[in-house]
């Protein structure tokens, strides 16, 4: 099969671009560690609180080092459980200082949910039996909506919370 001269140039240019994309992605993923969330850890979906990270007292925001935070969340229809405040009221807003490193770890007790911080790269699937985890650094202060972006039932669109990134 022989190709027209221009078609050859086009294919070299096109395939070259694809290779360029893959190299950029590959370097990012394997060298800089920006793989998409693939935590692989499992958990019993009917007994998530047996896992240390998801015990009542460990839910929500915890500081684990200087500029290092851990946010543990239990998703269930149609709520993100971020723990309770001193008065025993459910926390709806997590406040994190800008430029700190945050690890989100999330699991679900029922169906599949999404976990997306709108306007950021925090975007992962939460599936029964697995712990989804993602590390990020917030570069810009602001109020971000945490919302469920995978259909989980009739109340799916009301499943939300807030993450506030502030300038300390």
């Amino acid at each position: 099969m022989h190709l027209h001269k221009y078609e050859k140039i086009w294919l070299i240019f096109g395939i070259g671009s694809l290779i360029l994309f893959l190299v950029v992605l590959g370097v990012g993923a394997f060298y800089k560690g920006t793989h998409p969330p693939s935590h692989l850890a499992t958990i019993d979906p009917q007994n998530v609180q047996a896992h240390e990270s998801f015990m009542d007292e460990n839910l929500g925001l915890r500081q684990v080092g200087e500029d290092q935070y851990l946010v543990s969340v239990i998703a269930s229809a149609f709520n993100y459980n971020l723990g309770t405040d001193e008065d025993g009221k459910a926390i709806r807003t997590v406040r994190i200082p800008v430029d700190s490193t945050v690890v989100f770890q999330v699991t679900t007790t029922d169906v599949i949910h999404g976990f997306q911080l709108a306007g950021t790269n925090v975007n992962m699937m939460v599936e029964p039996g697995y712990i989804s985890s993602l590390e990020t650094t917030f570069k810009k202060p602001g109020t971000y909506t945490l919302l469920c972006n995978e259909y989980c039932g009739t109340g799916h669109h009301i499943m939300a919370a807030t993450v506030e990134v502030y300038q300390p």
Partner: protein
Amino acid sequence: MITNKTGMNKHDSSLVMAHMWVAFISLFIGGLMGLLQTLVRSGTLTLPFGIGYYQILTVHGVILALVLTTFFIIGFQFALMSKTVGMTDKQRDSAWFGFWIMLFGTVTTAVTILLGKASVLYTFYAPLKAYPTFYIGLALVVVGSWIGCFTNFRQLYVWKKKNKGEKSPLLAFMVVINMLLWFIATLGVAATVLIQFIPWSLGMVDTINVLVSRTLFWYFGHPLVYFWLLPAYMAWYAIIPKIIGGKIFSDSLARLSFVLFLMFSIPVGFHHQLTEPGIDATWKFIQVVLTFMVIIPSLLTAFSMFATFEITGRSKGYTGLFGWLKGLPWKDVRFFAPMVGMLAFIPAGTGGIINASNQMNQVVHNTIWVTGHFHLTVGTTVILTFFGISYWLIPVLTGRRLTKKINTLGMIQTVVWAFGMLIMSGSMHIAGLLGAPRRSSYSTYGGSEQATEWIGYQLAQAIGGSILFIGIILMVYIFLYMIYAAPKGEEEFPISEVSENAEPTPKFLENWKLWIGITVALILFAYTIPFIDIIQHSPPGSPGFDMLIRH
């Protein structure tokens, strides 16, 4: 056998027409749901009579993405096969048998959704649980389509036996590739539905392995979109050249690109599961690389299409760098509609490359950007090409003519569709980049500032959606007119010849065993190890949740 001059046997015509009826009725119902969705999402409408948003979204997804596409494609492909390699009475009987099974399955599933017992969306992700008849109906649609597959295989086989040593007609070759792709792909969804979903929804087992079901679903989900696209490519490669008065640029390149689609469109399902916790990152990346391979045949196609247009324009005497564009029949809707579809494929395909780009998927995953993306691919490129096909196929089937008036109306329909989609899909893309989620009813997200920003784009989607719905009404009118009101006569069944400058097609392109062998090898390579991993490291299974979908 009674054959009219256009070359379609009367009996074959009714078979194809039956498929077309289901497709166009689906278009109308699905389009109406689409309009309602955009109105609800923008906060301008509350659904009456206790109808749920996710119920109509399930109808929209199932009836447009699964029913309309499958029926149109199988019907169109029967027309191509009947025209190029012929159809015996026995083959026609089995085709009808497949049709009735698919229709029965469709009705079963549709009734279940309408009763509010299956608002699980067209992807039916476990452990949301629908009533068993939802899954049983879908299984029947797949089984019916398999009968179509094997009927098509048999048709080409019989033809080959009669025409020893000859290469198969290009369109028949393409149909068989597409049906092979479909058959191999649907094995995955059939496995999860038959082995996992049906026993679980019937209560025979207590739990379901969620990740296994998702992996089997997406093993099917990506080739599914190529099953939609390839019939459009058939029309572009082998029918449009005839309509514009040209020839096929290269028979071998056309076949080569179809073979590449068969090989590379299946081992790539992980690009829909990039943000899932249970799949190894390296295997995700491997499937991303394979996904990029499947872009290559589309690069080939882009060149072939432009080349066909340029050579044809120039052969009509138009010169200059782009002067040949004037040589194209812009006022012929049979060309114009698919051409607009092709143009839509430029942003559509580009969006697809972005979606599949591994970690970049986190920017767009499950945002309304994705919805914007596939309303360009299937909702514009594929659908406008199908409309373009209908303008000659329906008259051929009904023994009528495409009148000037309908031609003009078709041109208007195309422009309305393109314009509505530009607005709807454009605002979906932008809102998605801002973070607005897909598959979501109207919500202020607890008064969030970001959600207020999205509302303007939702309104734009409602405007685009309303324009699109006008397009649907126009198309349904055109469909009915072509069946009942157009003057009797003969319409051409356009099939192109290969350019005399093109090289002879090499024999190896018809080495089916080789292509199927490579396809299977690639699937085994991409899936065996990660799939064993998934099973070995499975968490406890999930019980079903059917209360969450009640409203």
